[in-house]
């Protein structure tokens, strides 16, 4: 994986979370905030419907960066994200990015997670060990 160059696009990661994904993520993570799992509650607080956990989408960004580094989980050293748009279940998420810098055995990747034009995660910066 030492052939990364500044400006290279990383392979896109495409995932369509099913209707019950937020329930499984709630169980796995311990975050049972009802805005993620209860449509009536979500609508009562002004949301269009239940929304994805931001940290689930950050988990996909982490998966994408780890893949670029060759798949070893300890290769991901740092990940910083800004949550912007709300993510919806049953809609394809595309994680894409470009190589921002390469110094020695470390690379930094700029990443975006989006559902169509809705960028749910922006300014994500992943530092990986090559």
């Amino acid at each position: 994986m030492s052939d990364l160059n500044v400006g290279d696009a990383i392979p896109e990661l495409k995932v369509t979370p099913d209707k019950y994904l937020p329930h499984r993520y709630a169980g796995a993570s311990g975050d049972f905030n009802p805005i993620h799992i209860d449509p009536e509650f979500a609508k009562a607080v002004g949301l269009p419907n239940t929304i994805l956990h931001g940290l689930y989408m950050m988990g996909l960004v982490a998966r994408s960066a780890t893949d670029v580094a060759g798949g070893d989980p300890k290769a991901l050293k740092r990940l910083s994200v800004q949550f912007r748009g709300m993510g919806a279940p049953e809609t394809e998420i595309v994680v894409s990015g470009t190589v921002k810098s390469v110094e020695g055995d470390r690379a930094v990747i700029d990443t975006v997670a989006a559902q169509g034009d809705n960028q749910t995660i922006r300014n994500a910066e992943a530092e990986i060990q090559l």
Binding site: V15, L21, D31, L55, G59, K74, S80, Q82
Partner: protein, 146 residues
Amino acid sequence: MTVKTEAVGKEWPATTYEVGKEKIGEYARVVGLDNPVHFDREAAEAAGYRDVVAPPMFCVVYSAPALGPAMFDPEVGMNFAAMVHGGQEFEWGEPACSGDEITTTAKCLEIFEKDGKGFYVFETRSVNQDGAEVVKGTWTNIVRGV
């Protein structure tokens, strides 16, 4: 109305979480990871890990319990009805493996107001049973209309 800043610098009691093999597998499956180091002890050991290793973002599972009391502290005074998770950063050190006992402390780093929004920034630091830092987290919550 302005944000209260008395809680800046405050630390909350540590929480300890014992990492389990099946919990790692459950998390890994949900985010779609299929690397056997997250499920199979022999594969993890062959890859140089002490035991089944957690994906990096599994840190939310063991570090979030320390953050709960900080976020709900009346001294912090966050309005949850208008709160969104604005940003997140993690820096990883020693990998977290099944059997590890990870202790996390939470601290309020900053509270400030900008463009009519309140920013509440917390830090968590998680160390394992050997005292090695496993992850440092920076959690930014934004409250609209403070």
